[in-house]
């Protein structure tokens, strides 16, 4: 059989119904473009999030309290997260600051002094009514953090006036606070708040310093939560953790943020601290009321989630591809009916059944391949436009990072798209092609 002749005839047949062919191709174009751009977008977001988490620091260790029952439920339902062997929730998105507080201050001291830990601080917070005088009727709610002296450094904050909390102020639960720059603007305007008095839940505190976030870095939220949103650390107060425990009427801590000396010892230190805490609390991995996690744990969890997100996007886009394929099948069925006499003629001229199958398959594959190639081009175009949209939408520091989200479209994605469109051509073209080949030549020649 002469393949070039058949190819030429197929192109001619497609070209003879320009509008119909274009609309059919459009279905595949939309499908492929959707797959390419959405998968590219998903991969881009994945890269962005993982890069930003890496930037947060690979030496970070988070120790969080957790509800043992909930932890068990998470494990049973297969919720991803936790360090292998650690069984903890990733501290970065910790909810440990809630009602569950299981870490003693003595344990915090142990962590702080542990060989391999560079610095550590409790990371407590709660909403407190703040007034400027004891007689004031109107109070504003502010987030108040209970921390140690190293908190400012750990969270990349800087002191703009006054000074940091001192070791003795923290240890002795002195009633002193630092105020975030935004909160200072709100409460004191142009006046310097340093040395002024403020009432937290009607208890008198003295402001010793003003801090703001270091703009050169993205602002990591307290407790590693989503920054840039609610509870910005700069519109809050920071006091010593002992004072905070009195203020919040608590005895134990819920969360500790720490940095290891180096990346090499992070896992080792985290494991050792976790083991020690398990012994102290008399728990095992299965009923642990405390979890130790590192940014590596967070990275792998977020990476898993982002990859699942990409797969979901691809799945949604694939639906439109299937719809495009159904369009191909529909139009090929119409073509077969319209060209029944031609099929009869070709059979009379010596075409075997498989030649007829081959011809109609070729036409549907040509349609889907053209659609696939245009779809790849449009997908790249849509993908790059979606990039600017996303960067506006989430902002430069959306996920705590400063880099833009770049849509990732690699050669493999394009090859897969082209391959998939050919396969769609074959799958959805097969039924019409087989139908054509099974036509009775006598009946086909008589078809009006």
């Amino acid at each position: 059989m002469k393949s070039t002749a058949l190819l030429k005839q197929s192109f001619k047949s497609i070209a003879s119904n320009k509008v119909r062919s274009s609309l059919t191709i459009l279905g595949v174009v939309i499908g492929i473009a959707a797959v390419i751009s959405l998968v590219g977008l998903g991969k881009g977001l994945q890269n962005n999030v993982t890069n930003n988490i890496s930037n947060l620091g690979t030496t970070d260790i988070t120790i969080s309290s957790q509800d043992p029952e909930r932890q068990t439920a998470d494990r049973e339902s297969g919720t991803p997260g936790g360090r292998p062997g650690g069984g903890g929730r990733p501290g970065g998105f910790s909810f440990g600051g809630g009602d569950t507080s299981t870490i003693t201050t003595a344990e915090y001291e142990y962590v702080k002094e542990y060989d391999g830990i560079a610095s550590a601080s409790p990371n407590e917070s709660t909403q407190i009514a703040v007034t400027k005088s004891s007689t004031s009727d109107t109070a504003s709610q502010y987030q108040v953090y209970g921390v140690d002296t190293s908190y400012i450094e750990l969270e990349d904050l800087k002191i703009t006036s006054g000074e940091n909390l001192s070791e003795s102020q923290v240890a002795d639960a002195k009633k002193v606070v630092m105020i975030g720059s935004e909160a200072a603007d709100e409460l004191f305007g142009d006046e310097s708040p340093v040395g002024k008095v403020i009432y937290l839940d009607d208890t008198k505190y003295t402001i010793v310093g003003v801090f703001e976030s270091d703009d050169s870095q993205a602002e990591p939220g307290p407790g590693g939560g989503f920054p840039g949103g609610i509870n910005r650390v700069t519109s809050s107060f920071v006091t010593g953790y002992n004072a905070w425990l009195n203020l919040a009427d608590k005895e134990k801590l819920s969360s500790i943020t720490a940095k290891a000396d180096s990346e090499d010892v992070v896992e080792e230190v985290a494991t050792a601290i976790e083991a020690k805490l398990y012994v102290n609390h008399d728990v095992t991995e299965d009923d642990a009321d405390v979890a130790v996690s590192t940014s590596q744990d967070l990275l792998s969890t977020v990476s898993d989630v982002a990859s699942g997100f990409t797969t979901t996007l691809a799945g949604i886009a694939a639906i439109s591809l299937v719809v495009g394929g159904i369009g191909i099948m529909n139009i090929m069925l119409v073509t077969v009916t319209e060209r029944t006499r031609e099929i009869g003629l070709r059979r009379a001229l010596g075409a075997k059944r498989r030649h007829v199958v081959y011809q109609f398959l070729l036409e549907s594959v040509i349609l889907t391949l053209i659609g696939g190639l245009i779809g790849v081009a449009l997908g790249i175009l849509f993908g790059s436009n979606a990039t600017s949209f996303i960067n506006i939408g989430f902002g430069g520091g959306g996920f705590g990072g400063s880099s833009d989200t770049r849509v990732v479209i690699d050669v493999s994605t394009i090859l897969i798209a082209v391959g998939v469109s050919s396969i769609i051509g074959v799958i959805f073209g097969l039924f019409p092609a087989l139908k054509a080949s099974r036509l009775d030549p006598v009946e086909a020649l008589r078809y009006e």
Binding site: M1, K2, A5, L6, Q9, K12, S16, R341, E342, G344, L345, R346, R347, A348, L349, G350, A351, K352, R353, H355, P441, V442, L445, R446
Partner: protein
């Protein structure tokens, strides 16, 4: 004188159409026919006489019949669908009343269509020869929809001659043509036959059938009388 070889041998051919479990229609009842190399045979009959059924069987398009059919000595009743396709390509040239040309396609491409399925080295040369034989050398690159009815039928004849078949099977080839053009086409058939090609012509028109050397009249699925 050299004895001419039989090309088509039909023995006791019967064709029954079953429209439902109870209703059977006999289209052909015991047809016996031998057509030799170089014959020019006309099979005549009114509508519903069984002409088309006989043409489909002779053209290897229908193999659901009873009886024996030998084409160039080969018993075709037990051949596979693929082998029948090959035999059609090699031995039979079809000419239809509706011409059945590909639209928006040139004369040359239409004539070359059979070579899509069986290609030889000198396809183009043979196509040009066939086009010349039907007198359309000036229209080689014209699209078929730019041609008159008579010219379109000439393209169809050139396409049928393309594979150098042993039989030309023409089903009402002049049915869509005016009287003058019809006779021009019949003159062409006569000249092709004189060059040695066997022609089987199916028609209901007496004056067209008169061009053939032998005539057979089909009536209700049987040959009523034959004359040489």
């Amino acid at each position: 004188m050299k004895r001419r070889q039989p090309v088509i041998e039909l023995k006791n051919i019967e064709k029954t159409y079953r429209t439902s479990a109870e209703i059977e229609t006999k289209a052909l009842r015991g047809i016996n026919l031998t057509i030799n190399e170089g014959d020019f045979v006309a099979i005549m009959g009114a509508s519903g006489s069984g002409k088309s059924s006989l043409m489909s069987i002779i053209g290897l398009l229908d193999r659901h019949f009873e009886g024996e059919y030998r084409l160039n000595g080969e018993d075709i009743t037990s051949l596979s669908d693929n082998r029948l396709s090959e035999l059609r390509s090699d031995s039979i040239g079809f000419i239809f009343q509706q011409f059945n040309l590909l639209k928006r396609t040139s004369v040359l491409e239409n004539v070359l269509l059979p070579t899509t399925y069986k290609s030889r080295a000198d396809d183009e040369r043979r196509a040009l020869k066939a086009i010349k034989q039907v007198g359309l050398e000036r229209y080689i690159n014209n699209h078929t929809n730019q041609l008159s009815g008579g010219q379109m039928q000439r393209v169809a004849i050139a396409r049928a001659l393309m594979m150098n078949p042993s039989i030309l099977l023409a089903d009402e080839p002049t049915g869509n043509l005016d009287h003058k053009t019809a006779h021009e086409i019949m003159d062409l058939f006569t000249s092709i036959n004189e060059q040695g090609t066997t022609i089987v012509l199916i028609t209901h028109e007496d004056d067209i059938a008169d061009v053939a050397k032998q005539k057979y009249l089909l009536f209700d699925g049987e040959f009523r009388k034959g004359k040489e």
